[in-house]
Amino acid sequence: MTAVDLAPRLAWSDWSAIGVDVRVVVTEPTWLDGARELLEHHLRALDLACSRFRPDSELVALNAARGRTTEVSPLLAEAVAVALDGARASDGDVDPTLGSSLVRLGYDRDFAELPAEGGAVQLTYRRSSHWSQVVLDRAAGTVRLPEGVQLDLGATAKAWAADRAADAIHEAFGCGVLVSLGGDIALAGPCPEGGWPIRVQERPGPVSTAPDGASQTVALQSGGIATSSTVARRWRRGGEVMHHVIDPATGMPAVSVWRTVTVTAPTCLQANVATTAAIVRSASAVPRLVASGLPARLVDHDGNLTLLSGWPEEAHDEHR
């Protein structure tokens, strides 16, 4: 669906790709078609390089390499580098080498195709800082994974792609742009007067409908914003609730005092690493977030809010 209006000079387009809802918004309607085409181009390349679910992707081939050094495209090499940077920046709390755990927990296909229920899973997990054992040779264009390790780039690739695409669209057309890949949002270029109004919510859903659960709308002028939550993207195996934020210490879905964390940062990638790490770190996330200076909104399981580093109070109770 493509629409033009809502606010003066803003135009947007929505579609689905890489297993998520995609939205691009531009400040100059003239460039909407070009912006969408450019974003689609980026997403096609990303999917072919980084998808864990399509059999012809480079990542599937890399994960099947059983410890062998594998040639990769510059795009996948960059995506792996970004993921390893995220692991390093988070002291391993955002770990791209948890692909095998996700598969064993049942997350082995696009989430929309995942059976909601399934039998019990048996998981043997040994943590050995796998991410630091990934060998990326950018000059040679190769990657070697420890045997038995599979990469999952879900915690970084979408956010990184949103940043790249937003920058590319702004550079190409000169307009302001918002790119949302499944709720990972990157901004580039001039913003609308008052900033980009963005609704923070706990579950995926279109902006045109009232959110299910707590929400708050904030204005953001630049950078990126991301949200991680344990109340969405859930499934059951053997009666146990699973979710997609995995604790590298256990190989299991993270047990956190927070059900949802939202962060703004200079880039969407930084924001997404911060939110994922915060879920994993649970209560100890607060001092780390404060030290980072990144504005953050954390929601505990009773719906209580913790607002950090200038995150605004809600103007009124917005569907808490």
């Binding site: 709720g183 109004p197 924001a271």
Partner: protein, 116 residues
């Protein structure tokens, strides 16, 4: 920016005939918009497949509207070499190197952030 991205941009900017030179200038124009004062047009080499038509030289443009002044018959049969300079005027204000702090707003949202 790769060749296909440049083609998309050139087409979006209304170039009906997408030639090697068009692509080269699209890349240069994009670089100008990004605040890069001078670039060597590397995209031309990326597109320099075996060709039958060659244009060379140095071209200076104040904006990418000069794309239209360079024409090749077909990008499958043309190569372009040389350098181009540009003084792009597109504003990059608002491009983020730092995050803005979110503020309260009563405006209707244009996007939602949620777990992905």
């Amino acid at each position: 920016m790769d060749y296909n991205e440049a083609r998309i941009i050139a087409r979006a900017k209304g170039r009906r005939r997408i030639t090697a030179a068009t692509v080269a200038f699209a890349v240069v124009g994009a670089a100008g918009a990004a605040g890069i004062a001078y670039v060597e047009s590397s995209a031309t080499s990326a597109n320099a497949t075996a060709g039958t038509s060659t244009s060379t030289g140095t071209t200076t443009s104040s904006d990418d509207s000069s794309v239209a002044t360079t024409s090749n018959s077909d990008d499958s049969t043309s190569t372009t070499s040389g350098t181009a300079s540009t003084s792009g005027t597109a504003s990059t204000s608002g491009t983020s190197s730092t995050a803005s702090t979110p503020t309260t707003t009563s405006s209707g949202a244009v996007a939602t952030t949620h777990t992905s």
